[in-house]
């Protein structure tokens, strides 16, 4: 009876504030460990940081036997929407974990995905050259005068 009463009292007074606190603390940890954007994830970090997901950039470089080719990922997604949905790209920019980046890289290299990266990779394979794709998320930074980009995490190298 006492247990039931305590549980009910906790549900009515403490459960939701505790839920908010837990989610917010989780968000703070994720921002500082895996590069989650402070604007998202329920930590009330909106309007507190320049590092907004819409302002992030994920760079993509195809490294083959002799060259490095830069690709603009957002442009590829505009030209070839089948490769990755806008929703998936937003998720990757907002929460760029190593596993998310690897999955995206493999998708971009996949032969069933029509895009310039997959085409160049396929050509390299025909020439017996194994190429790899490097992805890296960057965040915007401002010092009161100049805007610049800083890497959010280490770059991830992917091979199919």
């Amino acid at each position: 009876m006492i247990l039931k009463y305590s549980l009910l009292k906790f549900l009515k007074t403490g459960a939701i504030p505790l839920l908010l606190t837990t989610v917010a603390l989780r968000q703070i940890v994720l921002v500082h460990t895996v590069g989650l954007s402070p604007w998202h994830g329920g930590g009330f970090g909106m309007f507190a940081s320049i590092d907004r997901d819409e302002r992030r950039v994920v760079t993509t470089q195809l490294i083959d036997c002799s060259h490095t080719h830069d690709f603009v990922l957002s442009q590829i997604l505009t030209d070839s929407p089948d490769v990755l949905s806008a929703h998936a790209y937003t998720h990757i920019s907002t929460f760029p974990t190593q596993s998310q980046l690897r999955r995206t890289g493999r998708r971009l290299l996949s032969t069933d995905a029509q895009n310039p990266i997959a085409e160049l990779h396929s050509q390299n394979q025909d020439k017996n050259c194994d190429s790899k794709l490097a992805l890296q998320p960057w965040r915007l930074s401002y010092d009161g005068r100049v805007i610049t980009y800083e890497p959010l995490t280490d770059r991830v190298e992917v091979q199919p």
């Binding site: 917010a24 402070p38 009330f44 309007f47 507190a48 960057w138 401002y142």
Partner: protein, 298 residues
């Protein structure tokens, strides 16, 4: 004067007991309207439920409807967790509170207690983030936001002495930098020393007012601060959202504020501000753009 009296008596009419039912109805309206500017098909069930509750008012008292609404919002929150912004999380928490309230024998008390804590905690974490990021303490966050965010163009022109052409050039510079993924090429933005100073002052003002709102809602001592909590929230809402209109967040804060106060006068103020929000919130921006259009468009 007569108009004010009529307005007050109309608000008092709306606030006829039980007050918690008004809060549940207002919450339903907000649930129907919020997020329609970034529509997701997974929101459809919650919108249908909200519409049904508004069209057939006895449904607002139905426990199972609120439970279903909670499940819809929790599902959406889990599914889109990385895309949702602060107040969308707050909506989910508030609907969970409404559900607990409707299932309890003391709905008003449950709503009142949780509203105060949710407001306090969200302002506590908002204040904490201002320190964690570090970009608030040197003013750089607001400085860049004034220079790049078109929603703050009014502030950049009025407070920083910048003109709209310079702001458009800044945005173009950044958009080109981002679109070309030119991460190794820093770009200089056009600004003024006044903009930097104003950004710093406004940054500390924001930390102060958010910190005070958090402390006044979470702590019952000092007593004078606790008793002034509603006024601090009014100051925050009117000064912040007149510059950056965020209707969804502001409206929810007013609904939660309304139920947690014990003063009927302050409750009327919350309700009045909420009802007039679609008018007063965009008004400063509208006046600014009108003046720009009339006097500076040539």
């Amino acid at each position: 004067m007569k108009l004010v009296k009529q307005w007050n008596s109309w608000l008092s009419g709306l606030m006829q007991p039980p007050l918690y039912l008004l809060v549940l109805r207002l919450t339903t309206i907000l649930l129907l309207l919020h997020g329609i500017d970034h529509w997701l098909w997974t929101m459809l069930p919650e919108k249908l439920l909200a519409a049904a509750m508004l069209l057939y008012s006895p449904l607002v008292r139905q426990r199972w409807i609120w439970l279903a609404m909670s499940l819809c919002l929790v599902f959406n929150n889990l599914w889109h967790w990385s895309n949702l912004v602060n107040h969308e999380y707050l909506y989910t928490y508030w609907v969970l509170v409404c559900t607990l309230a409707i299932w309890s024998s003391t709905p008003k008390q449950v709503l009142r207690w949780n509203a105060r804590w949710l407001i306090g905690l969200c302002f506590l974490f908002a204040t904490l983030w201002k320190f964690l990021g570090g970009e608030y303490l040197d003013g750089s966050f607001l400085h860049l936001t004034f220079l790049l965010d078109s929603r703050l163009a009014m502030g950049a022109v009025l407070f920083g002495g910048l003109d709209l052409t310079t702001l458009a050039d800044n945005r173009q510079l950044f958009e080109t930098m981002q679109a070309s993924a030119a991460v190794m090429d820093p770009q200089q933005l056009a600004t003024t020393p006044r903009m930097a100073v104003v950004s710093l002052v406004l940054s500390y003002w924001t930390i102060l007012i958010e910190g005070l709102v958090a402390a006044s809602f979470l702590l019952t001592v000092p007593r004078w601060l606790y008793q002034k909590r509603d006024w601090l929230l009014f100051i925050f809402v009117t000064t912040t959202y007149a510059v950056i209109p965020v209707l969804g967040f502001g409206a929810l804060l007013m609904v939660m504020g309304l139920i947690q106060t014990k003063s009927s006068f302050i409750a009327r103020l919350y309700l009045g501000l909420l009802i007039l929000m679609p008018l007063w919130m965009p008004l400063p921006q509208a006046i600014f753009w009108l003046i720009q259009k009339i006097f500076f468009s040539a």
